[in-house]
Every structure is written in C-alpha cells, then in structure tokens.
Amino acid sequence: GAGVSQSPSNKVTEKGKDVELRCDPISGHTALYWYRQSLGQGLEFLIYFQGNSAPDKSGLPSDRFSAERTGGSVSTLTIQRTQQEDSAVYLCASSYNSWNPGNTIYFGEGSWLTVV
C-alpha cells in the first residue's frame, strides 16, 4: 500500500477483555515498530521487528502485551486482560530497515483504544 495501514482506527473494549491491533507496513519495509501515545504525552516505545531477527521487546510494559509479525509483513499487537491504563493511541510505523538511522520512519494514523 501507499502508507502504513492500521486497524481498527477506533476500539472501545471492556476492562478484562483481550484486544488485537493490526498493522500493515509499507511494502518492502523490513522494519516495523509499535509505539503508544497516551493523552498529553509523548510516544512510548513498545517493540520493533527487523526482518526475521528476534524483536526488541524491551518497551513492552507487562506480560499482558505481545506482538507478532507473520511472514515479515503484517503485525498484530495483542493486549490481554485490558486495563483502563491501557487506553491510548497505538501507533505503528515502518522503515526500509532499522540499522540505518537515515531511513525515514513512516507512521500510521494509529489505533485509538479506550478501555471502559
């Protein structure tokens, strides 16, 4: 596609339910990133994937959060047993690769998650 595509754009879920957020990166991009943006705050790094290498999961806030990337393309971020503090915008981004900082990172428009 022309840009990074995320779905759903908005999600309201009840506390305790599981949610899945999907990201479709730009075709040909081997690096895929997930960030979280809480109201009035900056972006918080969650995880990034580079090709078939083991992902850098150092930003995942708890074991309720997990992500996978199938076939080196589409990624799914899963939040289990959602809590109200999980309410945020979840941003996905991709770049040609992650080891060259000169590669521009392109962001999707985000998935707004509200936990009630």
């Binding site: 705050q41 580079q50 850098d56 900082p101 962001f107």
Partner: protein, 114 residues
C-alpha cells in the same frame, strides 16, 4: 539509556514571528536526533534529522535545527511561522548502538495566532 526533554509543552506565537522549540537529550553514546510533526488529525511525519556532519540541518517547511553536543541540545527554529504550522512537534533520539529504538519527548504544541 537515552532520554529526551522538551522544555516547553506549549508555545503560542503570532503569525510571521520567529519560533524556537527546545529539546535536550541525554545519552552515554553517540546519537541520532529527529524532529517529527503531527498536524491535527494526522499521523506523525519526519521534519528533519541529524545523523552526522554539519550541525545545522534543514528540514521541510522552512524549519531548521542545530545539534549542540556540548549542551546536548537539538533546538528547532523557524524564522517566520504561518498559521499552517500549528501542530504538535516531537523531538526524538536514537542511539548508535540501537538505531531502531527511538525515545520521544512529550511534545510541544505550537499554536500560531493571526
């Protein structure tokens, strides 16, 4: 670990006035620095970046930033702003040892008034 501080959460200015958005970072290794802009109801887009070389970098829409290693700063400037520059601006840093992991500041909301 790297960190970023954006010193102003909100900056109101009048149209055609100059503006500076301040950013300081902390890191124990060499860094790459970025400014991103988020217009209302849009995704983030890269404004400019410093990787190496000349400390003054120019970006889109007439913005520029200067990397100051001694002061660990990367302030963003524009000599004359337009109404259309109203947006949220984020400073970000990544380290040479792990270029894929960026740390972002909390953002500065620039509001340009007529």
């Amino acid at each position: 670990a790297q960190s970023v501080t954006q010193l102003d959460s909100q900056v109101p200015v009048f149209e055609e006035a100059p503006v500076e958005l301040r950013c300081n970072y902390s890191s124990s290794v060499s860094v790459y620095l970025f400014w991103y802009v988020q217009y209302p109801n849009q995704g983030l887009q890269l404004l400019l970046k410093y990787l190496s070389g000349s400390t003054l970098v120019k970006g889109i829409n007439g913005f520029e930033a200067e990397f100051n290693k001694s002061q660990t700063s990367f302030h963003l400037r524009k000599p004359s702003v337009h109404i259309s520059d109203t947006a949220e601006y984020f400073c970000a840093v990544s380290e040479s040892t792990n270029a894929g992991k960026s740390t972002f500041g909390d953002g500065t909301t620039l509001t340009v008034k007529p």
